[in-house]
Amino acid sequence: MASADKTINTDVPEKDVFAIHFLQSLSNLRTQNLFNSPDTTNYRVRKIKKAAYVSMARAAGGTSRLWSRALLRRATKGNNKIVRFPRKKRKVTWKISSKRRRSDQRAPVVEEAAERLRNLVPGGGGMETSKLMEETAHYIKCLSMQVKVMQCLVDGLSPK
């Protein structure tokens, strides 16, 4: 484990990819007849938020990242005609339960934080702590990118 950056690959696409995806999702949102009434603001907000997350998941690598897969799966719970989930070979699934049971023995400080992280990061429930950290790093990068894109959008759209 000489060079950490080589082993941990957290490459995130550029902002424009995020922007495209986000705008596409928003345009798809527009196809729905939901924005006529004013009291759908909350609903709209939620829709936008969901669109933001999903587009982020797409932009950040689709199903090749654990958290994005979990996000997309969560988003398309009922009707999954959209996203294809390739079968990923899970080599160490057996470790999950065993490590969970022993989690208290393993640096309880780290494990407590890992539990909280798992609640935050999508798909963190089935990951080992080290893998969880990797996914968290990538997730943080993508989140920051998405935030920047949205900020630009809002700034652009806000009335001057």
Binding site: M1, R106, V121, L143, K160
Partner: protein
């Protein structure tokens, strides 16, 4: 070697015809030419080798008197012992003792049985009755049961592999042995304090005198006694030829593999038994394949050189495992090693995260940093939510996608043709019924604003993309505005023409 063959035949027959007449064999053995070289490896050698470096214990004396100084039986007895020493390393009593030690296990079983079978066989029978009579006092501490056998196995286990180090070195080099003893002896002694067959090194060392000598003596005694009775073991030892330690190994191997598995975790023996036990540690394969090398306080060079030979036997497998080596002064339990690897992984990733999260450089300590990371993730998620809210309120129509892309050309188009044609109803599907001017304003503003933020993001890209999209959309819009009758669904057309619009997100 004829001696080996003879011995093998004899001992195998001895083993098989345990009930019949082993004494005959012994007589045969007594007469065979093996006894000739006995003189060179007579009791002096054995006696000198073993007790010389160890203070003679009472057992040794009594044993020596009964066994070695009995002319008739001693000859045969020593013949076996001497023969063994002959075959093993020349004059290397360590090997002989190792082979003896290896024979202890089997011979013990035999030894207990044989006295019943050979009661009064004169001098030949003196062998075993000596065993029976003499052994109990010496072996009073030895429970003649699986416990002792287990310990014996462990003893031979521990020493078996390491004897390669010792055997190859002359007897007069107690340093390596001593070092080895030191290295391996700590846990050994912790384990086997109560055992007679204590020490890893068959050779007594000055420092480990008390602990080592007695078991060594005893082992040599018993092995000498029980040599004829153990067919398999002797065969093993003889087949190993000049490598006496191997005999001990094979005997122990054949004796109780179960014990070896249990002891597999013990790192002291691990280096010698790595090759043997590599398949017995499946749970550790995930992290490490080669077991530990403990480098205790003993001088590193000599121990390392001594242990090198044991290490060469086990090659690291080339199947993607991460080889871990225990650091100096660290526990070498396989579980702790796995834990260490895991901890290192986690800390490595945490360092990576530290670079990501702003303001985490000053923070030290895992707990605080993890809290920081969690806070950061939460803040980012809250930011996304807030911005989405803002987006929803700022632009309730949410009609910024196409318009943004349409930018200049579309505006021009609309400006050109919008006055004449009524606003297409399809177009206004998502649009609230706004005055036309307002729409125009919105469009222009959106176009301007969308393009401007995009350009700092990636100037070149926006140009290209928008022109591409604009090119496609232009036609659509042209159709839309140019011919008011034809109103293809702009959404569908637009989305279809969008280069990357291959997915529809179902909210």
């Amino acid at each position: 070697m004829d001696v080996s063959e003879e011995k093998r035949n004899r001992d195998s027959s001895n083993y098989d015809d345990r009930v019949d007449n082993p004494t005959v064999d012994w007589q045969v053995s007594g007469s065979n030419p093996v006894s000739a070289p006995i003189d060179s490896y007579s009791q002096e050698n054995l006696i000198s080798a073993c007790p010389s470096s160890c203070s003679p214990s009472q057992m040794m004396d009594s044993f020596g008197q009964t066994l070695w100084y009995d002319p008739t039986s001693v000859q045969q007895a020593v013949g076996y012992g001497g023969g063994f020493s002959v075959q093993s390393n020349g004059g290397n009593a360590s090997s002989s003792s190792s082979s003896f030690r290896g024979n202890i296990d089997r011979s013990l079983e035999m030894g207990w049985n044989l006295p019943n079978l050979l009661p009064p066989k004169g001098n030949n029978g003196l062998f075993l009755p000596n065993v029976s009579s003499f052994l109990p006092p010496s072996m009073a501490q030895f429970p003649a049961d699986s416990g002792f056998i287990e310990r014996a196995a462990r003893f031979s286990l521990f020493s078996g592999g390491n004897f390669s180090d010792m055997v190859n070195q002359p007897l007069g080099n107690p340093e390596s042995i001593g070092l080895f003893l030191q290295g391996g002896g700590t846990t050994m002694q912790g384990h086997c304090q109560s055992n007679e067959l204590n020490v890893v090194g068959g050779e007594p060392h000055n420092d480990e005198s008390t602990v080592v000598k007695e078991p060594n003596v005893r082992s040599s005694e018993q092995s000498k006694l029980n040599v004829p009775g153990s067919g398999n073991v002797s065969e093993d030892t003889q087949s190993s030829g000049g490598n006496g330690q191997k005999g001990g190994e094979t005997s122990s191997k054949g004796f109780d593999t179960r014990k070896r598995k249990r002891n597999g975790q013990n790192s002291e023996a691990a280096q010698s038994h790595r090759s043997q036990q590599s398949e017995e540690e499946p749970d550790n394969n995930g992290d490490k394949k080669r077991n530990k090398e403990q480098s205790p306080n003993s001088p590193g060079n000599k121990t390392n050189s001594g242990k090198q030979q044991g290490k060469q036997s086990s090659d690291p497998p080339k199947d993607g495992y991460i080889h871990v080596r225990a650091r100096r002064g660290q526990a070498t339990n396989s579980h702790s090693l796995a834990e260490r690897v895991r901890r290192e992984k986690i800390s490595e990733r945490m360092k990576f995260l530290q670079d990501l999260v702003p303001g985490c450089n000053k923070v030290t300590g895992k707990a605080v940093m993890l809290d920081e990371i969690i806070n950061y993730v939460q803040s980012l998620q809250r930011q996304v939510e807030f911005l989405s809210m803002k987006l929803a309120t700022v632009n309730p129509q949410m009609d910024f996608n196409l318009e943004g892309l349409l930018a200049k050309d579309a505006l021009q188009l609309r400006a050109g043709s919008s006055s004449t044609t009524p606003f297409p109803p399809n177009m206004s599907m998502a649009y609230p019924p706004l005055p036309h001017g307002f729409m125009q304003q919105t469009l222009s503003s959106i176009g301007r604003t969308i393009s401007s933020p995009l350009s700092p993001i990636n100037g070149g890209f926006k140009r290209q993309e928008t022109t591409g999209w604009e090119g496609d959309l232009q036609n659509v819009i042209h159709i839309n505005y140019g011919a008011g009758d034809v109103t293809p669904d702009p959404q569908a057309a637009a989305t279809a023409s969008l280069p990357a619009a291959n997915m529809k997100v179902e909210p």
